[in-house]
Amino acid sequence: MALDNVWVLAEVTESGPTSLSLELLTEARKIGSKVAAVSWGAHTAEHAAMLGEYGASKVYDVGDVGETLPGVPVAGAIAALVAGGDRPDALLIPASYDGRDVAGRLSVKLDRPVLTNVVGLSDDGQSTQHTLFGGTTALSARFTGDGPFLYVVRAKSFAAEPGGGASPEVVSAPAPEAGPAGATKVSARHVEERSGPKLDEAPVIVSGGRGLGSADKYEMIEELANLLHGAAGASRAIVDAGWVPYARQVGQTGKTVKPNVYIACGISGATQHLVGMKGSKNIVAINKDQDAPIFSVADLGIVGDVHKVVPALIEKLKSR
């Protein structure tokens, strides 16, 4: 038996709903008979049709939250809807920066536990799947108490597919007065340069790790990614070292990616890295250590020096 009301916390940016939000709407159609989206910010109305196309028959629009971080006002707005009798059986929340804030705040407001790092749901929406120990073990879990069930879902757990739904009804769901908890203020936003496809949407990803030796060598990773019309990724080691921005990080604490081809250059293959990329269709690894764990998931492994193999690859691609 499917759930009655499934809501999705949908993040809508200027360019539209995030891909994870669309993945969640697609899954919500499967587990629920009625799907609604909860959105905030200045762009909800303009992109509401797309939320409808992916399954939302109703959109709760929290509206512009101004300069505060969305966690408090958005959780407040949802809690107010629930208090007013308009409650979901389950709420699917993206495992994103703001999604996690909303989940934490809302769980306290509703006094409901959260199942987190969900990578799959049963058709009835009552049972979740998770992986642990670097993806070697799978686990199912479920809530034993009353809903609303709060699920925080990782990216790429479901494929986003439009369902051909009509334009949804948009209703205003304003945030209540937040008090001291809402006193955050964003004073400036910095966008780091990015060219080419986004990491979580690229068909090809070329990632670099500590084996590159120094920050300037990351340029060859970007160049190779460019030549393959892909995106450049990174291990956490070189993100922590400040060589590349965090947005490039693949793995447990970074992005989960499932491209057609993933090329790991000078990456050892720690379990926390593997969980973020071993769902890739095809994996190529270049590492000078033949015992590197990355080879255990590689379809093609080259035991060699990245400083030789990658530049040669770039030359050959350029001359084609």
Partner: protein
Amino acid sequence: MNVVVCVKQIPDPAAPGALDPNTHTLDRSGKLILDDSDAYGVEMGLQLAAGDGDEVILVSMAPNGETSGLRTALAMGAAKAILVSDDALAGTDALGTAKVLAAAIKRAEPDLVLTATESTDGYTGTIPAQVAELLGLPSITFAKKIAVDGGSVKVERQTEAGYDEVECPLPAVVSVTAGVVEPRYPSFKGIMAAKSKPVDVLSVSDLGVGADQVGASGARQEITDVSKVEERAGGEIVVDEGDGADRVLAFLEELKVI
């Protein structure tokens, strides 16, 4: 300024993890160590609370009166610790943990509470916002830079696109990423001093948290099934004899990527 740093003590992540055969929750019966992710919060706290009368107070919830991870953080320079340890806490979920931590944190009357963005073993990443909500405080998650300026905290917060500059009045909860500072190694002197630093051990009832809020039953969730994931089969591994690039090209051609 009082800075509370939440530090989790976890099974050594380098050792193979194991689940309790009955409850399917993580086996925490062995020796526990300081979660690496919390070393950043401890270092950040020490740097922010470096003035006269400033103090870094650790708060941890862990089984079996475990203090070895706390000693590591005390050796780095924290002044004292509050440890909540109680058999009733076995199987507690993130929300229950947040209730316990919030009650313990209150006792320290902090100006600033630091946590990691997520722990290494459970990594739900919900505790920072839950603790903040329980304490009625503002929170800024995913900090990659923190400065305290008078009565407010200024943070560079990671975002999908880059980072935001965010500020809020103190007291507040801030969760830190691994990039925020470089943690120091405890000195020999620090390690010796840590042995005599106070660790206040409390039970759930000491904190006034209801027994029904914690433990496996308070979690209102259960693990119903555990299974091994089929390993991804390894492929062809070749040693580069000058032909490495050609092998990769041929592979990409076969996939029609080029």
